[in-house]
């Protein structure tokens, strides 16, 4: 008997190869809008991908996302996505290119692993927001949970409200601008990068130290505030890596001999 293997999935990443695209969008003047109320998560993402990749549209609005998880993930093309409501976990993750505007809140682990693009969140965000961010800007107008930008490798995170504990944990590069208060352990074990804080800092994490303000800092802050219409920047404190964790002076005597 002849056996035929058919690979039907879309290399750009349809989660479910056989999902039927609902095709419920209203398309007008190169813009599309669709109501997600009755759609499943997979159908919402399939519709979005169909509009962006198949129909070649660059402006899509999703209505009534109802806090569902994993919406608008892995979009690797330049486009504008407006989400008229709140997202659940993992919303707008793994992006490369899009400008996303979320007119509600996002749950845990949103905007992770972004390579480039912009995400603006009007409401609050859960913990682990913009973890492992490599490029682009994430702007949260509300407050964010714990461990914002954990393992950040580039890009900029701007938070207009307060941030939870261990903000900037293990940060490797990039910038964070937190306008409100931050919880304990700010910048714990950061390797590099810069964190600006407008409010109070509950405590600094291991090897996070105040940094020296330069003209480049002023220019960066002013530029970002202008782009996102955040008004005049408040007075900010700057924190950087103390680079003490780079040293090997806490080794065992036998190890020390090897290094020296």
């Amino acid at each position: 008997m002849e056996s035929v293997t058919r690979i039907t999935y879309d290399a750009r990443g349809l989660v479910e190869p056989d999902v039927t695209v609902p095709r419920v969008s209203e398309i007008e003047d190169g813009r599309a809008t669709f109501d997600a109320t009755e759609l499943t998560t997979r159908q919402i993402n399939a519709e979005l991908r169909w509009l962006l990749y198949d129909q070649g549209l660059e402006d899509v609005t999703i209505l009534n996302p109802r806090s569902r998880h994993s919406i608008a993930t892995g979009i690797l093309t330049r486009c504008r996505i407006t989400i008229d409501g709140s997202l659940g976990y993992f919303g707008a993750t793994m992006l490369d290119g899009p400008e996303v505007h979320i007119k509600g809140r996002v749950g845990w682990s949103s905007c992770q692993n972004m390579m480039s693009g912009v995400v603006v969140i009007d409401g609050n965000a859960g913990s682990l927001t913009a973890a492992a961010l490599r490029g682009g800007d994430v702007v949260c107008r509300g407050r964010v949970g714990a461990r914002t930008g954990i393992d950040q490798k580039g890009g900029t995170i701007i938070v207009c409200g307060d941030a939870g504990s261990m903000t900037g944990f293990m940060m490797q590069r990039g910038r964070q601008i937190i306008l409100g208060d931050v919880g304990p352990g700010l910048g714990d074990s950061m390797y590099d990068g810069t964190i600006y804080v407008g409010g109070r800092v509950k405590s600094l994490g291991v090897d996070c130290v105040p940094g020296e303000w330069t003209d480049a800092d002023t220019e960066l802050i002013e530029r970002k505030f202008r782009i996102y219409g955040l008004g005049d920047p408040p007075e900010l404190q700057k924190f950087v890596c103390g680079k003490q964790l780079y040293n090997y002076d806490t080794l065992e005597p036998s190890e020390r001999k090897l290094v020296l």
Binding site: R66, S67, R68, H69, G85, S86, G88, Y89, G104, R105, G107, W108, G123, N124, G126, S127, G142, R143, G145, A146, R147, D162, G164, S165, M166, G183, P184
Partner: protein
């Protein structure tokens, strides 16, 4: 991973059984092992309500299983009456191993509950209070809810739990919520792990408490109830717990007239909160809150080390 949820209505009785079922069903993906509810109905001024299980889904259905259940049920009734209680009613749920007893009783709750649990190896008092009823079993929220007819349960506040077993077996004893044996009307649901569980379990056991399960979450319930019995308020007891219990946890505790949440120092377990004039709803995911609120809402996540309490 587990999912927890809580609701408290500030303006009287609502169909909390239906609401909690919807909330928990929407979080089924967080834990498919078992589902549990702690529901607070209208406070009874006279009667106590006791929920008891005599076996569970894992108990071998050997040849005399049915007779043993009947015998155990009679024995539970006999012992309750022998302790001086005036039994009003005993009802079976969908499962013959689940009993609900209502009775008048003036004595100490601990010896009564101890006597009932001593009926057989599998017997366990799930809840005992003036308004608290704990219902838990294997399966998802809709299954448990329909088996125990929770859709029509009216009350003021409730908590619920969908469980992914990490710390103990998949059985009813390991399912949440936990009643703070032997304190009336105190129950807890928990998402996380306690790392100093054995230390606290031994400490509480030395002061006379017994534990039905091997699950770390049961410690939280008994810990809080003991603190409250010593005169601490619910809120103060919960603040103490942040100092004394170690691990990653977010938990919700309920008493006869209040509901509170506490989150550990690392904020390592999620909780989303929604508050309006007549309702406070909290859950591991916002998707659960949206099941019971039909309009656009603003929610936020509590920060590390936070304790919040709301009254009915």
């Amino acid at each position: 991973m587990c999912g927890i949820a809580g609701i408290i209505y500030r303006d009287g009785m609502r169909p909390i059984g239906r609401d909690m079922t919807r909330m928990l069903q929407s979080m089924k993906h967080r834990g498919p092992d078992s589902t549990g509810f702690a529901l607070y109905g209208p406070p009874q001024h006279e009667a106590w309500i006791m929920r008891v299980k005599l076996a569970d889904a894992n108990t071998p259905r050997d040849f005399d299983f049915a007779q043993r259940l009947t015998r155990d049920r009679r024995e539970v009734e006999r012992r309750v009456q022998a302790m001086g209680a005036r039994l009003h009613e005993t009802t079976n749920g969908h499962h013959p191993y689940a009993l609900t007893l209502t009775f008048d009783y003036d004595g100490d709750l601990k010896p009564l509950a101890d006597r009932v649990e001593d009926v057989s190896r599998d017997a366990e008092v799930l809840s005992l209070g003036r308004s608290l009823e704990i219902i838990k079993d294997l399966g998802d929220a809709e299954t448990v809810s329909s088996d125990y007819h929770l859709g029509s349960f009216e009350g003021s506040h409730a908590i619920g739990h969908v469980r992914m077993a990490t710390e103990s077996d998949v059985d009813i004893s390991g399912a949440h919520p936990y009643w703070a044996y032997p304190f009336s009307d105190v129950a807890v649901v928990h998402n996380g792990q306690l790392t100093n569980y054995f230390e606290w379990r031994r400490r509480l056991e030395r002061s006379g408490h017994r534990f039905q399960s091997e699950c770390d979450s049961e410690v939280i319930a008994v810990y809080l109830a003991e603190k409250m019995a010593e005169g601490r308020s619910l809120e103060d007891a919960m603040r103490d717990s942040l100092e004394e219990l170690d691990g990653v946890f977010t938990y919700i505790c309920v008493t006869e007239d209040a509901l509170g949440m506490a989150k550990d120092e690392l904020a390592a377990k999620p909780l989303v909160l929604y508050e309006s004039d007549d309702l406070v709803a909290l859950a591991s995911e916002e998707i659960a809150i949206r099941e019971i609120v039909d309009h656009e809402i603003d929610t936020y996540d509590p920060f590390e080390g936070e304790v919040m309490v709301w009254s009915r």
